[in-house]
Symmetry: C2
Subunit: 228 residues, 2 copies
């Protein structure tokens, strides 16, 4: 646990003493697939670091529809931005995708620490502004780009740099929701990409046939990198 915490970009800014201090109040949590960590609207008291597995953060519409806002992978924290709100409640629900280990950190306690370290504040600020930017990108994506673009971009983002074969370790319907598309549509887009000899997906195995074409499909509507 100690090592995991040390790897996180925010937590590693802590002095040893501060760090030990955090540890005294941190809890380890193990979740099974589908376990609910908290629900949208629950009162906020703790934030979390993903040690292994994935967490799914989502919003629920009254009609029961859900939209995945973020998939949090190992090494990342989530919900810490709520520390600075008046009487915060979680704006999303969180459930585990597969076996997932977390460390939970007491918010109030951590906040005290923050007050004693500008450096730590700056780290957090940096982290939040990155998140802010990626949300802007997301809005941009949703309103300016087609479903096909989003699928292509998502696959590319998950593809390791120089490998054309890899695994999608997340169920397809979750991916679909992540990029705001219905599972049926997702399936159809994949099919159409296959018919163009761009990629193949069997089960969870992805095989890129024409990376360039895929990049183009994502690009058609994406913004120049230097401007985004």
């Amino acid at each position: 646990m100690r090592e995991y915490l040390k790897n996180n970009l925010i937590l590693q800014r802590l002095t040893d003493k501060q760090f030990e201090n955090v540890l005294t109040r941190a809890k380890q949590i193990s979740l099974a697939d589908g376990d609910v960590l908290f629900q949208q609207g629950d009162e906020f008291r703790r934030f979390y670091l993903v040690v292994s597995g994935h967490m799914k953060l989502f919003r629920l519409a009254p009609d029961g529809n859900e939209k995945v806002i973020e998939l949090v992978d190992a090494g990342h924290t989530f919900a810490e931005a709520l520390m600075f709100l008046e009487q915060p409640r979680y704006p999303v629900g969180a459930i585990a995708l597969g076996e997932t280990d977390l460390i939970s950190i007491d918010a109030r306690h951590f906040q005290e620490l923050l007050k004693s370290s500008v450096d730590l504040c700056m780290a957090l600020l940096g982290d939040m502004s990155i998140r802010l930017r990626s949300l802007i990108r997301e809005i941009d994506d949703l309103s300016l780009h087609s479903a096909t673009c989003r699928v292509a971009a998502f696959i590319l983002a998950r593809a390791p740099d120089c490998r054309d074969d890899f695994e999608l370790d997340i169920p397809k319907h979750v991916i679909a929701s992540r990029i705001s598309v219905k599972p049926e549509t997702f399936s159809r887009i994949i099919k159409s990409l296959k018919s163009k000899n761009i990629l193949e997906i069997k089960g969870s195995k992805v095989h890129l046939l024409d990376r360039e074409a895929l990049e183009e499909a994502a690009d058609v509507c994406a913004l120049p990198v230097d401007a985004s």
Copy 2:
């Protein structure tokens, strides 16, 4: 100028000495309607406070389509989140809507100040987490709600608490883009709301006929307040 700065929720956390310090490097800027402050992709050096008027922040798709990300009203700052990125460029473009006065603040300089005040950091952190939340809401809106809902919600958000008549001081096509709808569609939605005796819009004058119905139209897909 001094008073305006003092009204801003971030700036008011500064000690008098810090404040004077900021002033020495701040510039006043006056823009006419349509003036460009910066373009998407420009190098970031300063952030801004709106003193009067409105700024439009938008993203551009390669096909020339634009999507308004945010409308910044008087009293609010924008682009300050970029201070914490590595070699930041503006992720959006900014142009003035109508005559607009701004104060521009040197980022590097302000950052030095931040390092000397945890309190100020906390204020910024709070501000950013609010922004973060509102972006999440926005994504939620885009992917879970219909255009009609968004129109209704927008109008309501602009309506003063207990008044049924007020002005839309922003051109309709800008509003349309803000809520990711084409001007034609916006116009049609308004027409349909009028035919249901919910509201009337003449020029820039809005007249609410049935506030409750409008709230319901926005609600159909909106989340319970306490959970958002």
